[in-house]
């Protein structure tokens, strides 16, 4: 498993269902483009658990941990 530092949003899959925003509001915000965007990077350790839950809950499977900061 990659180190839990950055979170990636697959732009082809994300449709802004906002489950992530509800579970980890500090990290995710759905913008006017109907896409979720990570607000903090890297993800602080104290909310890594929330982000883990958000990744699991994304109905489209659009979220994942990543080695790299978001582009």
């Amino acid at each position: 498993m990659p180190p839990r530092r950055h979170v990636a949003v697959d732009r082809d899959l994300c449709e802004g269902h906002a489950q992530c925003e509800m579970i980890a509001p500090e990290v995710f915000k759905v913008g006017d483009d109907d896409q979720s965007h990570a607000q903090v990077d890297p993800v602080p350790d104290r909310i890594a658990g929330e982000v883990e839950n958000a990744i699991a809950a994304c109905p489209r499977g659009a979220l994942s941990w990543s080695d790299h900061p978001p582009a």
Partner: protein, 445 residues
């Protein structure tokens, strides 16, 4: 270990537990079964004893029955392994017969082959993503949130009409499907697609005929069906052409303008997309609404809880979705050898994901057979997940909230007069066509 050996072991195991019954006696494929109720007992045996089960039944191509929540979710998130391109739902031979004869007839009429519909259900990524994203803006949270006021207003009107119909029936039963549950879904999807108001009830009539049970060899029914298909097709092609010439802010216009792979969609391609959107937008929400009403009326304590605590509407809607799971199954074809729960699945084999079973998975839901409108968490997968996650999810939830919110004041006075009746012979979705209800007299009346 060869599959047959594994199955023998599993069969021996269950024989011990059930004192002689065998997994091979379980029935999860007879369409008539689903007319009465989902075979939850059989699914539970499979989840506990053989969650990835090679199902050999007369009248069906052999398939893997997938009954656990985690396995269904995993398959849905791996479209690169499990393709929707060739076969995406389990069909018995009679159903295939109807499907094939329809395609042959369309091919004769059009002079070109009709192998499968050009719709999202039959697509894999990356093509699926291009087509889906041409439509997804019409179902976005932002747009549906703006639509909520309209949905609430419509729901209140339909509930008023429903109450009037029950009063007029004067103690006799009315069918909650046609007097109530079908109204909002057909109007909502029509508005989003861009169907003008004067055609909403036509669309409802056409879809009711198209989705009704077709008996092979019943010539009158076949003729009616063909006439409906013609009217419906004439209407959709005409709508597509009008939107090409004069685009509006609706989904048909969006599809007409979309360029995918450098080309515009043809009328026929758009018509196929619309066919799926009408069906998915109408039938499943109609079923969730009807069966949700049925569930509340059969669980008076939960109904009372909801009426006294309207803030429970959201979790109640989620529980209705889990409880009713309108889609029975979707299938995928495995693209290369893989494993699920240690069971080897070979290239070319079909996996069938049973959503009602996943939504009763005891590993995920405490007390899964309890209808509990306060259930939390409620990670049901009534809308599927991953690549093919229901496109209309936000709309469906908004419709159900609007409907049950409008129903709350009258809910305690509605009573069931009989069992829900399903459209026979469907293994894809529960399509309820009748739920007889009536109004209790008001106190003092």
């Amino acid at each position: 270990m060869p599959m047959t050996a594994v199955n023998e072991l599993v069969a021996a195991d269950i024989a011990l537990e059930t004192g002689g019954g065998s997994l091979d006696d379980l029935d999860i494929t007879t369409p008539e079964l689903y007319q009465q109720a989902v075979p939850f007992a059989a699914f539970e045996v499979l989840r506990r004893q053989a969650p990835v089960y090679w199902c050999l039944r007369p009248g069906f191509e052999p398939f893997w029955a997938i009954t656990k929540h985690a396995d269904v979710s995993w398959i849905e998130r791996h479209p690169e392994i499990f393709s929707s391109g060739s076969r995406n739902s389990l069909s018995d031979i009679d159903h295939l017969e109807v499907q094939n004869s329809t395609r042959q007839r369309r091919a004769q009429e059009a002079g070109c082959p009709f192998e499968k519909p050009h719709d999202l259900l039959y697509m894999d990524p990356p093509v699926h993503r291009d087509h889906r994203s041409a439509m997804s803006a019409s179902f976005s949270r932002r747009l549906i949130t703006q639509f909520e006021g309209t949905l609430s207003m419509l729901a209140r009107r339909y509930v008023d009409e429903f109450v009037s119909a029950m009063k007029d029936a004067d103690g006799k039963s009315v069918n909650a499907v046609e007097t109530l549950a079908g109204k909002l879904p057909i109007t909502a999807i029509s508005i989003i697609l861009g169907v003008p108001g004067e055609s909403w009830r036509d669309v409802e009539q056409w879809l009711n005929t198209l989705f009704s049970h077709r008996v092979v060899g019943d010539e009158d029914a076949e003729a009616r069906y063909r006439e409906t298909v013609k009217e419906y097709r004439r209407f959709t092609i005409d709508l597509i052409r009008r939107r090409r010439d004069d685009p509006q802010d609706d989904l048909v216009s969006r599809l007409a303008a979309a360029e995918i792979g450098g080309a515009r969609l043809t009328d026929r391609e758009i018509a196929d997309h619309l066919g799926l959107l009408f069906g998915a937008g109408y039938e499943t929400t109609r079923t969730a609404s009807t069966m949700g009403l049925n569930a509340l009326l059969r669980h008076p304590a939960e109904l009372r809880k909801l009426v006294q605590n309207p803030h429970l509407l959201n979790p109640a809607v989620e529980e209705i979705l889990r409880w009713t799971s309108p889609v029975i199954q979707f299938s995928r074809v495995c693209q290369f050898d893989t494993e699920i729960r240690g069971q080897r699945i070979r290239r070319g084999e079909t996996v069938v994901m049973f959503f009602p079973s996943a939504n009763r998975d005891e590993e995920v839901f405490t007390d899964p057979y309890r209808f509990d409108i306060t259930r939390d968490p409620n990670p049901h997968i009534a809308f599927g997940g991953g690549e093919h996650f229901c496109l209309g999810v936000t709309l469906a939830r908004a419709e159900l909230r609007a409907l049950f919110s409008a129903l709350l004041p009258v809910l305690p006075r509605i009573e069931l007069v009989g069992q829900p009746e399903m459209v026979p012979n469907s293994l894809v979705a529960h399509a309820v066509e009748r739920l007889p209800v009536r109004l209790r007299p008001e106190r003092g009346e």
